[in-house]
């Protein structure tokens, strides 16, 4: 039987290396065929925000297409797609109150609203949990 890992994330995108490392870990877990639960707390509710958009970069001298700016929402969508292809699941829960405060309700498909009770239930039913706090 496949493993299930839970991650609690707190960092908003584009602010800190932690969000990228967290997604690298989740990607690695999914590549193994593990089920992954994510509880996105505080700024992390913006990781799957649907309105993230690429832009050109005059300093780099690149157009929108050339710049190919990373978008965490696209990384998450790709991870979810890979999970589905492997018969695994990524259950991504955005903390509802954090979403409300931040006006971050528009998320990509596959993200649901939840609460700390969801996080505790995830943790109880997983093989292990990693909390990546913010600073």
């Amino acid at each position: 039987m496949s493993k299930t890992l839970t991650f609690a994330l707190m960092d908003a995108p584009f602010e800190n290396a932690r969000s990228t490392t967290a997604l690298r870990l989740i990607d690695l877990a999914v590549k193994r065929g593990y089920n992954v639960n994510v509880f996105a707390y505080e700024g992390a509710v913006y990781l799957p925000f649907a309105k993230q958009a690429q832009h050109a970069n005059a300093v780099h001298g690149r157009s929108v297409e050339e710049e190919n700016h990373p978008l965490p929402r696209a990384w998450i969508a790709a991870i979810m797609k890979e999970a589905a292809a492997k018969g695994a699941k990524v259950d991504w829960v955005n903390c509802g109150l954090c979403v409300d405060e931040r006006g971050a309700a528009e998320s990509i498909e596959g993200v649901r609203r939840g609460s700390p009770a969801d996080f505790w239930n995830f943790a109880k039913s997983s093989d292990n949990t990693l909390v990546i706090g913010t600073k």
């Binding site: 505080e42 405060e101 700390p116 009770a117 996080f119 505790w120 949990t129 706090g133 913010t134 600073k135």
Partner: protein, 126 residues
Amino acid sequence: MKVLNIVEAAYRGTLEEQDDTIIWICHAMKGASADIDVLLRGNAVNYAVKAQDASGLAFGDAKQTQPPKLADDLAKLKGKGVKVYVVEDALTERGIAANELIDGMDLVARRKLAKLFADYDQIWHW
């Protein structure tokens, strides 16, 4: 499953959030019947200081009416049966005397943390 929640970062967004969001989530998890305790280390040991007062914040004529009351939040956690450990060395380093703290805090020496961790199935460092 018994979990120790470690809080180290202090006063991070507490004025905007009206609480420390990790102490808050511990309350919420306890409400969901979680078996949890809390360890304060680093600057977060200051949360146990009785004399904290964040009232009076205002911007233009918009007054904040509900300031965070971090020591109260810890006391309430304690009231729900959650142990709140505070690293004693961190208090001393910061010049905080034991009688400045709210009641019910469990002081633990830094060198004894490794032994404390053995009591928990998981340790979440927020």
